[in-house]
């Protein structure tokens, strides 16, 4: 299951002067979202509607309500910035986010001060679903709410670039405000965060009407009444656990959405969801099994989207605080006992890829994989490493897997079978998702296997997301000082996306992989199935779908 | 052999839904022994069935006492209770349910022989066969289950079960009510003969006056849990004191055509 990751002390970066200057002069005159995206969407037209079938994700309208299914909420809300979409190599109307560019949205432009610390934002004339035009007060109040609401995820995610909104965010006038960050090097991650869920700005005029002494930010009211955002859609019908109807807002700041009505129906069974798209009862199915995707995408009317660099990884954290994985050699042996290609072929039916042993996306500017270990399935080598570690007769361990993820269970079974040749005797402990999450955080099992992603894609964020000392997402409970030092060094460099920084990230990631606290198995393609009637499905780094990008092909 | 059941100011209260109390039997005094044939008559709900259950030690009074030869039934030891049952037996009313449908009639008849007479199986079977023959029943029928014989036959088996231990008091609870009138007569005669021949007492409980009057020497009329009239059959029938008795007697006259 995808999860928002709170990276702890992420993303200390310093951009080069050149990049800074470039960003500073960029006034985003060109709308890069709506018009550039869907050349083939002519027929969308008025009244177009589409149906999405999804499992029950526990719909949660904002981060302030805690973790849940954020997709409908994401489409009611709008963020300050936006990562643009480009066509995926697959074509057929499938798109992917350009995760290293942060374009205009609720902010029509911004400038950066010469020291790289203060960002001045100019707001657009976006109008909320309640009819109020956006002002700087909305921004200030939204961040006050995000940071002031107990249980809100925003504060954890936005640290360390934004830790004290009252001090860091200043109103200049109704349409202008500044945010000052503590280190210039945090800028890239900061902009990325403003483009993700944490960048959502709420209509404070509307929300303030529903404030009570017990509920100073109207969080309780807004949990039931989602239409206080500046996003492309408003919710016109919501039956929890059953369905949501979302209606396009023609006064949306980026222009009227092409699909006028989005019907979200909750269908628990993945096979039924896949079939609904196949039979034309739905246009898009979420959380489809790879086997269904592979089979059904043979149908010319169906698309299993594939993108260059999906950020969802299937991975196996090996918990380093207890035997046998307290021994680096045993962890390395496991990395050689994992049947990578078999998992990609058998479980993901080719809808996954392994570009190497690492976790950083290889399309980041400055990326290098020099010196990485050659983890491939090699039982002989694994056996030798195990013997060297003092386990000549092999070793057993328990691998925890969530019952909610059939593909992950199947991957575990592939590993269990193939790792026998290397001397690993694996007991697969399948458990309910809630118990799995708990064990994962408490490091109680000896190893875990899961599918997960970093929501914000900058190298320092990605490197820290599962390694923050004592962090809740440090599944392997791994601490290795040289790695932390290397990461800290990278954060002192001026530009996180420079070649120089790339070298630093490479040396840190090399240690990450040599020490093997986590076996990164492969990148998994989006698990959705789309009707070819629909264009504009776009992979996003948060893996929640942007409905505004959808269009329809005329029959 | 002396066998005396003494009811002294017996009251039996049942608690209904919501805790409301209802006295099924209230202030009843009765004396039952082997010397008389006592009829107890009353409509359903009059408390006579409760009297029967208390008389047999199947239920116990809320107040007052039911004693057998001076010992309260409620506090009897198991051996004393067996000795009591050896002397006081029941011919139950609903013959379709007074035998366990899963067991043969012979099984049912062996029980009192084993439990009360402590006979072995062979001796029990001999006693059973004797009793059945005395009641004009083919012993071969005893191998059947209760639903495999006719209602009349079943009623004779019910009587046989009581008689097989040669009790001194036989309690008949609506023993003939379910039978055809012709069969009723023969069963009543049979009971009467047995009592006369074996010096046994009889308690005949029924809602029907004619059969009760026919077989009884003494009559007790119950109404709403109380005894409203008692005395020799002739006196009760012809010198009725209580208006309820009068309605019973009137109904009897109409059906039987007895002149007033």
């Amino acid at each position: 299951m995808s999860a928002l990751r709170s990276p702890g002390g992420t993303g200390r970066w310093r951009r080069s002067r050149a990049a800074l200057a470039l960003a500073a002069v960029t006034a985003f005159a060109v709308a890069c979202s709506s018009s550039a995206n869907n050349p083939g969407t002519a027929a969308g037209g008025d009244g177009a509607s589409m149906t999405i079938v999804t499992p029950d994700t526990g719909i949660t309208w904002t981060l302030d309500d805690g973790f849940g299914g954020f997709e409908p909420g994401k489409n009611v809300q709008a963020t300050l910035l936006r990562k643009p979409f480009v066509d995926s190599p697959q074509g057929r109307g499938v798109q992917q986010q350009d995760v290293y560019n942060y374009g205009p949205y609720l902010a029509s432009s911004y400038e950066v001060s010469p020291d790289g610390l203060t960002y001045t934002f100019h707001l657009s004339n976006a109008i909320s679903a309640s009819g109020n035009e956006i002002t700087s007060d909305d921004v200030l109040w939204s961040y006050e709410r995000k940071f002031g609401t107990p249980g809100s995820l925003a504060a954890g995610i936005m640290a360390p670039s934004l830790t004290d909104p009252a001090q860091q965010i200043k109103k200049i006038d109704d349409k202008t405000f500044t945010i000052t960050i503590p280190q210039a090097g945090l800028g890239t991650t900061f902009l990325a965060l403003l483009s993700d869920l944490c960048g959502q700005i709420y209509d404070s005029t509307e929300l303030k009407k529903h404030v009570t002494p017990d509920d100073p930010y109207a969080v309780k009211w807004s949990a039931q009444n989602p239409n206080y955002g500046f996003g492309p859609y408003e919710v016109t019908d919501y039956k929890p656990g059953q369905s949501v109807t979302m209606t396009a807002r023609d006064d949306f700041v980026l222009g009227p959405p092409k699909v006028k009505t989005i019907n979200i129906r909750i269908v628990p069974d993945p096979g039924t969801r896949a079939n609904a798209v196949k039979n034309g009862d739905a246009d898009l199915a979420e959380n489809v099994t790879p086997a269904d995707s592979a089979t059904l995408s043979q149908d010319p009317n169906l698309i299993a989207p594939q993108v260059s660099n999906p950020n969802t990884y299937i991975m196996m954290p090996l918990v380093t605080n207890k035997a046998p994985f307290d021994n680096t050699l045993v962890r390395q042996a496991m990395a050689y006992a994992t049947p990578y290609q078999q998992i990609i072929d058998n479980v993901y039916r080719g809808l996954a890829q392994r570009k190497g042993p690492g976790f950083l996306l290889d399309d980041a500017p400055g990326y290098s994989n020099a010196g990485f270990p050659d983890y491939t399935y090699d039982p002989a080598k694994a056996k030798a490493l195990l013997a060297q570690a003092g386990f000549p007769n092999g070793v057993g361990f328990t691998l925890a897997v969530s019952a909610a993820e059939p593909d992950v269970r199947e991957a575990a079974i592939q590993i269990q079978t193939q790792a026998k040749a290397a001397g690993f005797d694996i007991t697969i402990d399948e458990m309910p998702a809630s118990e799995f999450a708990q064990q994962r955080t408490n490091h109680t099992s000896q190893a875990f296997i899961l599918r997960d992603y970093a929501i914000t894609l900058t190298p320092p964020y990605e490197l820290l997301v599962y390694t923050a000392p004592n962090g809740a997402n440090n599944f392997a409970d791994w601490y290795y000082k040289p790695f932390q030092d290397a990461l800290a060094y990278g954060n002192t460099l001026p530009d996180a996306l420079s070649d120089q920084a790339g070298q630093a990230w490479n040396s840190a990631e090399k240690m990450y992989l040599d020490e093997a606290p986590i076996v990164f198995i492969g990148q998994v393609q989006p698990n959705v199935l789309v009707s070819s009637r629909i264009t504009g499905y776009a992979w996003t780094s948060d893996n929640w779908i942007d409905y505004f990008n959808f269009g329809t092909v005329s029959p | 052999m002396s066998a005396t059941i003494q009811f002294t100011d017996v009251r039996r209260v049942f608690r209904g839904r919501g805790g409301a109390e209802h006295a099924a039997v209230d202030g009843v005094d009765l004396l039952v022994d082997s010397s008389t044939r006592l009829g107890i008559v009353g409509e359903s709900g009059s408390g006579k069935s409760t009297v029967v259950r208390m008389m047999l030690g199947l239920d116990h009074p809320t107040a007052g006492s039911v004693e057998f030869d001076g010992v309260p039934l409620a506090s009897m030891s198991a051996p004393a209770l067996r000795a009591f049952r050896r002397q006081v037996q029941l011919v139950a009313q609903d013959t379709s349910s007074s035998f366990d449908p899963r067991r043969t009639l012979r099984d049912a008849l062996r029980k009192p022989c084993h439990n009360l007479l402590e006979l072995d199986t062979a001796a029990a079977d001999a006693a059973i066969d004797r009793t059945l023959e005395a009641l004009s029943l083919d012993p071969a029928l005893a191998a059947r289950k209760p639903h495999q014989v006719s209602g009349g036959q079943r009623q004779r088996f019910s009587i046989a079960r009581a008689l097989v231990v040669e009790p001194t008091v036989i309690v008949c609870d609506e023993a003939v009510s379910a039978l055809d009138v012709s069969v009723q007569g023969s069963v009543l005669n049979l009971l009467k003969e047995h009592c006369e021949n074996h010096d046994a007492g009889l308690v005949f409980v029924s809602h029907g006056l004619p059969a009760t009057a026919f077989i009884s020497e003494e009559l007790v009329v119950m109404y709403q849990g109380r005894v409203v009239e008692r005395g020799p059959v002739g006196r009760v029938l012809f010198e009725t004191e209580h208006p309820y008795t009068q309605t019973l007697v009137d109904a009897y006259r109409v059906t039987e055509g007895v002149p007033s």
Binding site: G271, T295, P406, E430, P432, E435 | L56, S98, K111
Partner: protein
């Protein structure tokens, strides 16, 4: 009266099943099952717990029942599961039914009594209603979470889930039987209360639970599947029909019918075989 009407029917059935030829026929499927449970692991062509080929291969030469979504041989797993499922199903059925009868009997005989025994019996009776109002799967979840997933703990959990219904069936029947005149007749014939319960109340009130036993067997396996689906069943890839069905079912919607169908057929045949044995043992007495 209903009883009297229904008994001749039950009698014919008994006569039918007791004809020796027919009787053995009803036991043949059960005998085969037991044989499979004992010999199954030796007979299977592939390891039932290993990935042996490509996933989702349809039934054919090498894999008679095809392979499942992980690439394990469905035939080998279906056969190898017999032992686990028979163990789980039979132990659960025996435990749930015998405990259910015992509890139903005790509750039914005592719940109208005064004093602490009556109060306790009424309490147990309400508790049974309450437990039945909670979905069995949730009870199973909690118990397995507490005891951990193994065949014994699964059996205990399933017993707790399935026992209340058995107890309630028996209790209702006890309440009916308790008023039957033959109990008073037996008392007058000198039977003690214990003998009375053992010889009359028990045989006359336990038949609904016994007749329901083959359903309990099936439910035990279906519940095992449900628990497996929620991730608290046996450790995968332990071969077990319920989890095989649960895992295979979504694929069946997309045309990969074999990985769920064969264990489902095995389950159905087993329930059929067990009900054959049940009829022979308890059909009439």
């Amino acid at each position: 009266m209903a009883l009297a009407l229904d008994t001749p029917d039950r009698d014919t059935r008994r006569r039918r099943t007791r004809r020796p030829g027919i009787a053995s026929v009803t036991l043949v499927p059960a005998a085969i099952l037991v044989l499979l449970a004992v010999l199954g692991p030796v007979l299977v062509p592939f390891s039932p717990i290993d990935v042996v080929d490509r996933p989702d291969l349809p039934p054919g030469g090498a894999h008679w029942f095809g392979t499942d979504s992980a690439g394990m041989d469905v035939f080998s797993r279906t056969i190898a599961a017999t032992r686990n499922n028979l163990l789980i199903g039979l132990i659960t059925t025996v435990l749930a039914t015998s405990l259910g009868i015992l509890i139903g009997l005790v509750v039914g005989m005592n719940e109208s009594r005064r004093g602490p025994v009556g109060t306790l019996a009424r309490g147990v009776s309400r508790a049974l209603d309450l437990v039945q109002a909670v979905p069995a799967i949730i009870i199973g979840l909690v118990l397995i979470a507490f005891f951990g997933a193994s065949i014994p703990s699964l059996t205990v959990a399933l017993t707790v889930c399935l026992l209340p219904n058995q107890a309630r069936l028996v209790r209702a029947e006890v309440l009916r039987v308790r008023g039957e005149a033959y109990l008073d007749a037996a008392r007058v014939s000198g039977d003690s209360e214990l003998v009375l319960i053992a010889k009359h109340v028990l045989p006359n009130s336990s038949w609904p639970a016994l007749e329901n036993a083959s359903l309990v067997f099936g439910s035990a396996i279906v519940l095992t599947a449900g628990l497996g689906f929620l991730g608290v069943g046996l450790h995968p890839p332990t071969p077990e029909w319920g989890s095989m069905i649960a895992i295979g079912a979504p694929g069946a919607a997309s045309g990969r019918w074999w990985s769920a169908l064969f264990p489902a057929v095995a389950l159905a045949l087993t329930v059929f075989a067990v009900s054959g044995v049940g009829r022979r043992l308890f059909g009439d007495d």
